[in-house]
Symmetry: D2
Subunit: 347 residues, 4 copies
């Protein structure tokens, strides 16, 4: 880090700072300019840099402390330059492989889920999604069927062969969800639920980590680092819209943030056009836009009868519209030289 001292800093102020650095095991490097004195702190990366930088800011005439290194390691491209391929079951995501996770917002019944599963499989999806534990803003709203939903998803996997992705909302669900699911989703509102992150990390299962609605890309990668720090690098990041002042869409899908994140991390990143926009008519343009922006996959909500859906009815595609969208996805994949639904065995 670099410490910027104000124009009023005396020699004593500088010395006090140098002492503070030395007592914490840092070397230093002083550069006196006309208007500012800069001190570079050298060495000792010990994971507590943020604390130290805040401590240094307390010293007299310290104007600013500028961090130089990124606050994450294992998930960065410095650690691994090439984009990772992460598999959910045998469905690949990343390094030219575009995955399509589709299915209902919530598992409501066996019939509804099987109907959705068959349709998305037929249309070309590579994974099935469905909520068993639903985070809802009102305590009086439908909260999901829990374990029953997990069993229904497993039955759908048995029939269609699609690997399944579902959310764990609390540490107490993880064991159960891990037993059934091929990948565990962490929802946007839980992106900084650190106990949950560590615990899904420990399962070793693939994790789909949604970006928090007010998380910076840096914080998102730090959340992934939590999972990675438990030895689990099977993480797929999912951009699902950030909260902004604009309300014509539910959230603001940050495709440029996604593209910028891909420069920083080797993990694959997918896009959620359903939750981010909140409206079915925007799912197709945002799916295609996500592909063109370089996403490694997409997660799309599909319901056999959206007008009777128990949650997020407005954003779910009919199975027919999903099939139409997949035709356009295939056409675009070819123009973009991306492999769609390519089996892992072909690697």
């Amino acid at each position: 880090m670099i410490i910027v001292m104000s124009s009023k800093a005396t020699d004593e102020d500088v010395q006090r700072l140098v002492d503070a650095l030395e007592s914490r095991g840092y070397g230093h490097h002083i550069s006196r300019g006309v208007e500012r004195t800069l001190i570079g702190a050298i060495g000792t990366p010990d994971g507590e840099k943020r604390s130290v930088s805040q401590q240094l800011m307390r010293l007299a005439n310290v104007e600013r402390v500028v961090p130089i290194l990124r606050p994450y390691k294992l998930v960065s491209r410095e650690y691994q330059e090439e984009t990772s391929i992460v598999y959910i079951g045998d469905a690949p995501f990343g390094r030219g492989h575009f995955g399509v996770i589709a299915g209902p917002c919530a598992v409501e019944s066996e019939q509804q889920t099987l109907e959705a599963a068959r349709a998305v499989k037929a249309a070309g999806a590579t994974c099935l999604r469905g909520g068993a534990f639903k985070p809802r803003s009102s305590p009086y709203a439908f909260q999901g069927l829990g374990e029953e939903a997990l069993k229904i998803l497993a039955a759908a996997r048995d029939e269609t062969g699609l690997p399944i992705v579902t959310e764990a909302r609390d540490t107490s669900h993880i064991e159960l969800v891990a037993e059934y699911a091929d990948a565990i989703q962490i929802g946007a509102r839980n992106m900084q639920n650190y106990d949950l992150l560590l615990n899904v990390g420990r399962t070793g299962k693939p994790v789909v980590l949604k970006r928090g609605l007010s998380a910076t890309v840096e914080e998102w990668l730090q959340a992934a680092e939590y999972i990675a720090s438990e030895g689990n690098l099977n993480v797929i990041l999912c951009e699902r819209g950030i909260r902004t002042f604009e309300t014509i869409t539910r959230f603001t899908l940050d495709l440029a943030g996604m593209a910028a994140a891909k420069r920083e991390t080797h993990l694959p990143i997918i896009v959620d056009p359903s939750h981010s926009t909140g409206h079915h008519s925007l799912v197709a343009p945002m799916t295609l836009a996500g592909m063109a922006a370089g996403a490694d996959g997409v997660v799309i909500e599909v319901h056999p009868h959206p007008d009777r859906a128990l949650c997020d009815s407005a954003q779910q595609l009919t199975t027919r519209n999903f099939a139409r969208l997949m035709d356009r996805v295939r056409k675009l994949a070819s123009a973009l030289d991306v492999q769609l639904g390519e089996s892992a065995h072909k690697e």
Copy 2:
């Protein structure tokens, strides 16, 4: 709710909507204007209005569905008009009582915590705070001392008589935290961790519910409703800054949002000038501003040696500056006709 149909809606479209309302148990009321047809849905408040409104939006030529009722009940002023007094130990918050929760960001050692506790007690604080389980954005940062910290806090309570407030970060901590603490804090990043909310609700303990960094006032009150729905109305809301584009402060303290929230809810609301600004020099002005805006209390980070603090060093006050601030708080309380640290027994 009111359903707005577009200018292109045919009689059949209107009839289809009316059928959809009837099949869900709603009465209706049609108002045909020159440019739009409006249909009012009457009756049947069943907690699933949001699902229904989304389902209706799927119908042809439905332009918009406007909700009329608020999505929370027990915490609203319609349910209870007068502001509640909530007690942490014997320290009152609300209805003219201004509470001051002070103490270190994290419990680091017995000595540090006792020193802080004695100082904030002497200066006039009414509760002691201190983190045992710290949510940190990096997995490599100090995460808190856990149960050891809780024991230190209890010792500080024994010595000073100050009731203690500390955070539960995960459902697995609640039982332990509830055993030691006088009030359980839910952090901003957990405001929509619904399992955590329900479980702290069940303890019956007072809860300090921080506003999520990207939560609207409405969502904040819905989160409080989760706790209330378990029969626990001992909830103190805490405004701690929202995330905006401005970075000169860590977050943007939303005092007007706090004042607006007080019109909606009977629950007391306090303000956190430490986390919201991220800088000790802004704690005093924001404490006084919060009081003047009508807050029912404040939570301030105080550390005997902020320059050695293991977390959030930059925002913690020295015990000396806290004492000075309390002098100004007392002067302002008198000008605002607010009672500071008034004992519960005087009610």
Copy 3:
């Protein structure tokens, strides 16, 4: 509009509201529910609805006033259902025509501009851009060459045949800019500079209206309505990123907002991947993403020597990278069934 009265509204309160509506020439329609009384105001669209709605909010026990009609007319799809084609010179934008405006951020010299113009023409751009009057956040930064720049742009048009687009920053520039340019650009910081909007409206020239950095889609369309209200419907909207908490990109390109806006307005909308991201490496993915999301064109900054550019060096493409991008644009246009650079005469 609909007026929602609180549960405490008395018959007198309702009568007072009805009187207020009648005195302003509105009819009304009362719907009494169990928890709320709703009053629909009928008729009299007189352009002052917002004032009236605010006046009504002053009355006792009025909880909310819900507007029903959109606050813009001429630019809406209700006024004209089919997407407009707007021509800059003979370059079409909209209804399947994708236009490419390219050129340097600022006109710095004749040589630099001609070099850029030749290169973008060769690569397939349909219009040339270049700043003559630059809005800069620092008063000490390069502000553009003014009329000299306009002359250079005209010379570049003479040589290449490309129509030219340049910004008018103040009402005092309009006449001059209109004399030289084929389309006048209104910058993001001026989107709500209403005098400027009315005055460019009066020129009858095509206008490229950038979205304000904190403007909602609704406000953007209202700004376009200002231009349209002067009889000028030759407006191309330009999404150039909104300000959010995320700083990894300069602004957040709101492609979903663009797609949502296209449902509301018949005006063509283009995308600016250069200013929105602030980084050249993100220009290609965001150009392709914008196309896939349904944009009617794109504006890209290209400089023969970006490392010597006097403004926004970081975001400008080299002419070589622009040519490569255009190859991908052509490939994508074909997959998306969009016509690139199709001459107006073929209509």
Copy 4:
């Protein structure tokens, strides 16, 4: 500035950067760390630093360029340490003087304005405000009475002795407004209308510069620097709320941002509780909060009959409520040791 080079930077990359610095007249200072090489650029503050820093970012393996100096000078506390007092007429703002600007949103008639002026004078306001040129989001809304309004304001000044503040919306209005007004207001939507800033700077008149709704504190101070660069340091900054995701208030009043800005600039800063909240019931708490946070004044909308106001009816106080608020303002001023409406002659 400091240039951070990535871990992959070769000696050639570093040399190329050093050459680039030298060719632009900078000295340099290289600091090689284990993971990064840092180069400090020394000297030559020439106002074009932002261009240079962007140019350097184009070089191979340059990871980041960190600016060290602030992008404004004359308005900073480095230029002048003590807070300025700015006078509007003989009403002082700053250095312990709290000014109160009050009056209607728009001048609607002579009677309305005189009635408001007498009432605010009687209640203790120190300046009169009133809009002559109104920026309105809809082209069909009331745009102000123009010069007629200026004459009415002058008549109100003649009668009450209150200096008058009114907005110039376009460069073409400045001369006229300057002829009548004691201070010229620049509206939030014009904060980055640089031609307007330079031109009001040249008048030498006091300027009330509203913060743009999406402007950072840094950009706000840069806008003030535009005015100051013309030799006019009679600038009063006005915090009037920023745009965030929260909609319960119209904007989010950023009092902590105001307090942080006061550390950076010597210019006085006032607060606008009317526009920022959009609701009359929030004007009193936010006025008091602004005072307690250290504002140097306030601007409050007051209308003799708000329920008939032609603009912003919802946010205007009645004269009676304004008088009540002023009683509380006086009480608070005394507790905060602030001088209210102290005449300039007492300096």
